[in-house]
Assembly symmetry: C2
Homo-oligomer: 196 residues x 2
């Protein structure tokens, strides 16, 4: 495992809680970080998992396959965490999660969390606080999506996730925004010409 990736984890955690040498050792030994290649699946439609994910490096998307067409519902950038719906509702996943770039993902399960949190309750508190934060972020994205025109959705995306626009092909951004690639081209052209 790359030390860079572990460093990124510890540096993220230490923004919220103090970490001692013992805790760093325990976390390192737990060996929770998985490497995925570009294009590799984390979860496929029809599969089930109990895993939760926290992206340390790379870029991940979730998408549905509807009438043979990909409908992208989320991009996860570094330091985003999520639990797939199937891990909560116990049904097979009706969407895919895969990696758009080589990615390092911290993977945990309820069993691992339970044991670890019992010994280190401050991590449970941190996970609760992060869940609230991610839920509020998601809530904001949903509200923005509902209340905005496609052009405003694109502007908000550029504002909230400026790096994403550089890293993701246009047709995938269009899918995420719920518009046709041609419409996204027109929107980008209008914005670059300062016409709106």
């Amino acid at each position: 495992m790359s030390d860079d990736v572990l460093d990124r984890l510890f540096s993220f955690l230490s923004q919220y809680i103090s970490l001692d040498i013992k805790e760093i050792e325990v976390l390192t030994k737990l060996d929770l970080i998985r490497k995925y290649e570009k294009g590799e699946s984390i979860l496929r439609m029809g599969e089930m998992t109990q895993e939760s994910y926290f992206l340390l490096q790379g870029l991940v998307r979730s998408y549905y396959l509807i009438k043979g067409e990909e409908h992208i519902t989320e991009f996860y950038e570094e330091l985003a965490g999520w639990t797939p719906q199937c891990a909560v509702n116990g049904k097979a996943s009706d969407y895919f999660i895969d990696c758009l770039e080589p990615s390092f993902v911290l993977v945990s399960t309820p069993d691992i969390s339970e044991d670890f949190f019992k010994e280190h309750p401050k991590f449970e508190k941190l996970c609760r606080i992060l869940s609230d934060k991610w839920m509020a972020d998601q809530n904001r994205s949903f509200d923005n999506y509902k209340n905005s025109s496609p052009e405003d959705r694109y502007r908000q995306l550029v504002e909230m996730k400026p790096g994403l626009v550089q890293r993701v092909p246009q047709y995938q951004l269009a899918s995420y925004l719920g518009i046709k690639p041609e419409s996204l081209s027109r929107i980008r052209k209008r914005i670059s010409e300062g016409r709106s």
Copy 2:
């Protein structure tokens, strides 16, 4: 405080964790349940709060006011919990939360939670698990909204929240579904006539 409402809380909690007499006493004494009248605001645009909410009885909505028009983004039914975006991002709220029916809401703050969880760590675990569940539910609603036609959105709403359709005026349901009231009338007529 109505005993019914407290009973509802304890019966909900005991689905997840065992509760002893001492814990029931402590929770009761904390006096966290607030009563709201029909139409009363929980949070107004421009205000800030650190509070999180868990609805024990009643019906709550959140909405934006855009060009003088209400855009409803969420309905909370009994046993739903949420933390407003402003409590997480520290900015003034850009939306309203108010009660469509007389409501009893459990209200907590980071200070109250911190003290209580320190003494009763199993409640922290429960809150983390519930946050994950509510985040997955919200994630599912967002995915459905993005991937569906207005008619399918309405069908999913009837399936997922059958009681809501009876309790909420049509124009508010239409706002939540992102369509005009006339379009919702047409959809309901088509469905009731079995035409789709």
